[in-house]
């Protein structure tokens, strides 16, 4: 563990990159996943099919293959995302690696976000919508007052699982040039072979802390949204 404590700023920086990947692709996958879910639970058959095909493809492909697509195959098609390195966000230059990793993680996670939303909507009993209609609520009213609030609440636990998985999946970016936590652990163990168990535990604990933070905040959300 000593190797970690003497390079603690590097350790923190590594988890900073992990967090950056997590937050950016987490938000992006929520957006894309929501759009897909709307397609999937909507009434238009073709839209349902298109979203289903997307989900099937991305759910059954290993994340590493999607990374290979983004990092190795896409540049051959003329998309290397090098232009983002000229952009400046709050004083930082984004790296093309970071953008590719985020795209790969987003494409993959969106499929699971979509499924999480779908299970949430399906969890609302049919009778609720019928009751809303029978007391004379319009479509928009019954949506806003009855169906969506319940769907949102039911969605929190599966969505948390998806985001926790995403957090752990950011580690795959280590294979493609991101100096995030897993890659940094590897570098540390190369330098201090005799301390490898301690180094592993230090990084494992870092991930566990992050996972617990995500899980606990979802509990808070779940309890706050709970109906009496």
């Amino acid at each position: 563990m000593e190797a970690v404590f003497s390079n603690f700023d590097e350790y923190l920086k590594a988890f900073g990159v992990t967090l950056g990947l997590f937050v950016v692709s987490g938000l992006a996958s929520l957006v894309l996943g929501t759009i897909l879910a709307v397609f999937r639970v909507g009434p238009v058959a073709v839209m349902q099919k298109v979203a289903a095909v997307y989900v099937t493809i991305f759910r059954n492909t290993p994340l590493l293959m999607i990374f290979i697509f983004m990092a190795v195959a896409m540049p051959k098609l003329g998309y290397n995302f090098l232009w983002v390195e000229d952009l400046e966000v709050a004083g930082y230059n984004l790296s093309a690696f970071f953008v590719r990793s985020c795209i790969a993680l987003t494409l993959y996670t969106s499929a699971f976000v979509c499924e999480a939303f779908r299970s949430g909507v399906n969890a609302v009993p049919l009778g609720q919508a019928e009751a809303a209609r029978s007391v004379g609520l319009t479509f928009m009213q019954s949506m806003r007052e009855v169906v969506l609030p319940q769907a949102l609440r039911a969605v929190v636990p599966p969505l948390t699982s998806v985001q926790v998985a995403l957090l752990k999946n950011t580690s795959v970016a280590a294979a493609f040039g991101m100096a995030e936590a897993t890659a940094t652990m590897r570098a540390f163990t190369n330098n201090d072979t005799d301390q490898r168990t301690g180094i592993f535990l230090a990084f494992a604990i870092g991930y566990i802390v992050l996972v617990e933070v995500v899980t606990l905040s979802s509990y808070v959300l779940e309890r706050r949204w709970k109906v009496a």
Binding site: V44, P62, A73, K76, S171, Y207, I208
Partner: protein, 284 residues
């Protein structure tokens, strides 16, 4: 009623609007496909030389034997060991003795929260590098066993809890001992409930074997890397290898659905909360 809570049965105007959406969606999908194909063509990815590898019998054999077979082997060993691991720790977690329960809980929670790749690299550094006794193949199997095993431990725990309490009470009433109740009554019924979850965990394990690429383990991804390293045909290789993974996983999923219909009837599959890889997490 279409069976969705979100919509009423559509009237004539809505039907007309849906038709417009249908046309727009088809147009959009076709446009995306056409654009992708055009990019492939434009950058010379559709030439015969780039695809020749996948039509050469020798290379097809390499892909199937060194790639797919190794991948399936790793997934197979990992899932078998994971079932044993899950059984031990899943039952351990519901033990009545605190000194059994807490260590099991700690092990399961630890391996569930740590990324599989981190675990894999650690096992590799520990057991394979230098004069380590194990090949990368077994490092992948070990890492996947620990991760999938802890997920399965939760599945077993939930499965055993899903057996109706009356069954256990009846068994006790007949004078069975605790072990007998577990082995003769609870486990056989729990396995039936758990089978679909176990099979979908196999999809996860299969997908995760591709991470072995990072630690130079054999498998489909590794073979793919060798091929595009040699022939510089990154795009076709990625498409072919990904398609093989997708087909194999779809076959597994179909089996899971069949098994579920046969054994569990139409009931919804076992819900395991807090499992990182949804559907597997279905992920990793």
């Amino acid at each position: 009623m279409s069976g969705s809570v979100l919509f009423d049965a559509p009237g004539p105007r809505t039907v007309a609007r849906h038709r417009v959406y249908t046309v727009l969606t088809i147009a959009g999908a076709v446009a995306i496909l056409a654009f992708a194909l055009w990019r492939l063509y434009d950058t010379g990815q559709l030439t015969y030389e780039k695809w020749e590898v996948f039509l050469t019998p020798a290379y097809i054999e390499v892909i199937l034997v060194d790639g797919l077979l190794k991948t399936l082997q790793m997934a197979f060993f990992a899932i078998i060991f994971a079932i044993v691991f899950g059984l031990v720790f899943g039952i351990g977690k519901i033990s009545e003795h605190g000194w059994v329960r807490w260590p099991c809980w700690l092990v399961v929670e630890f391996f569930r929260a740590v990324p599989v790749l981190l675990l894999m690299i650690f096992v590799w550094v520990l057991l394979s590098l230098g004069d380590g006794p194990l090949s990368p193949f077994w490092c992948v199997v070990i890492a996947l066993t620990l991760y999938n095993g802890s997920v399965l431990a939760e599945v077993f725990r939930a499965g055993i809890h899903a057996v109706p309490a009356g069954q256990v009470e009846a068994a006790y009433a007949l004078g069975m001992r605790k072990t007998q109740v577990m082995v003769n009554v609870q486990l056989p019924q729990a396995v039936k409930i758990m089978l679909p979850a176990i099979i979908s965990q196999m999809v996860v394990a299969l997908k995760d074997t591709s991470l072995g690429y990072v630690i130079t383990a054999p498998g489909l991804t590794y073979v793919g890397e060798q091929i595009y390293g040699e022939f510089k045909n990154q795009v076709p290789t990625a498409i072919v290898i990904a398609s093989i993974y997708i087909v194999v996983n779809i076959i597994l999923t179909v089996i899971a659905t069949k098994v579920q219909h046969r054994l569990v009837g139409e009931k919804s599959p076992l819900e395991i909360t807090g499992v990182g890889n949804l559907d597997g997490g279905r992920n990793a």
